[in-house]
Structure formats: C-alpha cells, structure tokens
C-alpha cells in the first residue's frame, strides 16, 4: 500500500538518503522539510501517514517540533518517529517519553528503514 511520509531533517545528506530509501525500497511518496518550522507547514498541508523527525536541528529542534505538531488539530494524530544519532540510554528514554511512536537510530540501513517503519506503525 502506498504511503506518504514527511521527512524533517536539516541535514541534506540524511534527508536524501532516507527519501531515496523510502521511495525506492517501499515505493512510498516522500515529502521533505529542512527545518522544524517548514515541517509543521508541510505536515498540515500534505497530511502524511507518518513523519520521520530529526532530533537535533538548529532553531526548532525535533522535540519542540513534535510538541507543535501535537498542538495543531490538523497534525495531532500523525504518527511521529524520531530519528537521532544520540545513542546514549538517557537521551533515548527522554525522547521516547515525549510520546512519539518510536525512536530510530542514525545511522539507519537504507534497505530496511521502510520495513522497520512498517513494523513499528503496524503497517506490515
């Protein structure tokens, strides 16, 4: 089944590899945003089935973006998966406590990212 995913990440390389992975491996439609503020607009406009959200971004970081998504009725119910290179336990617990669907670690495997998302989101 085709899905629409929004990737919010300030790093161009990660954004493009993730988009390539989800488009090529899973055949999903991908929308990208390079900042939290842009991500909020794209999420409301495109109503993606899920959002991949980077944690560390300049300006509005991932957790703040997530809270803003939840405040807006138009985006409040969109599942969000955080993407982070922070591998230490306390960081991951803190992110998980925000109420996101899952915390995915960077680096991710481009070949299995979509399968990992499907499993987490119950799409498998």
């Amino acid at each position: 089944m085709s899905r629409r995913i929004l990737i919010i990440d300030d790093e161009d390389d990660i954004r493009q590899v993730a988009a390539l992975s989800l488009e090529t491996v899973a055949g999903w439609d991908v929308i990208v945003a390079s900042s939290g503020a842009q991500g909020l607009l794209r999420a409301a406009e495109h109503q993606p089935d899920a959002i991949l959200l980077d944690v560390m971004m300049p300006g509005m970081d991932g957790p703040t973006t997530f809270r803003e998504l939840r405040k807006n009725p138009a985006t409040a119910k969109i599942p969000v998966l955080l993407l982070t290179a922070k591998v230490q336990g306390p960081d991951q617990r803190r992110f998980a406590d925000l109420g996101v669907e899952a915390v995915l670690l960077k680096p991710f495997d481009p070949l299995t990212l979509s399968a990992q998302m499907e499993k987490i989101l119950g799409w498998a």
């Binding site: 590899v17 090529t24 481009p110």
Partner: protein, 111 residues
C-alpha cells in the same frame, strides 16, 4: 565490521553511490573541522568555538557514515563526538589523530 556500501539491488546501490559522491565534499569538510580541533587540542589552544564545531561535525558524521555502509566510520566519529562534547576533552591527542586518520582513510577508500 562492515565497511562497504550496503549490498542491494543495483538501482538503490547506484543511487546511494551517486549521493555519496555528491555529499563527499561535505563529509570531508566535517572531517577537516574535527582535524582542526584535534590539532588545536594537541597544541593546548582549543577554543570553545572549535570544540563545539568539532562536536557538531562528529555528530553529523556519526549519523551519516553508517548509512553509506561505513559503520566503523560511525564508531570513530561517535568516539570523537563524545570527546568534543566535554568542556575539556580527555582523550590523548595522538589517539584522536589516529581516529581521524582512520576516518579519512575509510572515506577515501569507499568505492
């Protein structure tokens, strides 16, 4: 430890290789930022600005390199990230230099 690009269908492998070539200058710039900070640390003149820049560059590398199949590169970058996260990095400068040399070699040798 895998140090090769992910094996995959030709289409995604080729596309990943194209992205690698496109982003290689940025990746090399990040290594250069860490190298500059490492040299400053070795000479006892590391500024907070250089340390923060090295921390950010190492963090980005740790998230990126494994995605392109360089998992050992991610490990090396992560070690550098943890050191530059500290106000006063405690790693021996020679060890840091070794990590950076390994990183550069891994990146240079990726096909």
């Amino acid at each position: 430890m895998a140090t090769n690009p992910p094996s995959s269908t030709p289409s995604i492998a080729d596309a990943l290789n194209r992205l690698w070539i496109r982003f290689l200058p940025e990746i090399e710039d990040r290594i250069a930022i860490i190298d500059t900070a490492a040299k400053a640390l070795a000479n006892g003149v590391l500024t907070n600005e250089e340390r923060e820049a090295a921390h950010s560059a190492a963090h980005k590398l740790s998230g990126t390199l494994g995605t392109f199949g360089l998992n050992h590169g991610t490990e090396l970058a992560r070690k550098a990230e943890l050191e530059f996260e500290k106000q006063s990095p405690s790693v021996a400068p020679a060890e840091l230099t070794t990590w950076i040399s390994e990183l550069s070699l891994l990146v240079r040798n990726r096909q």
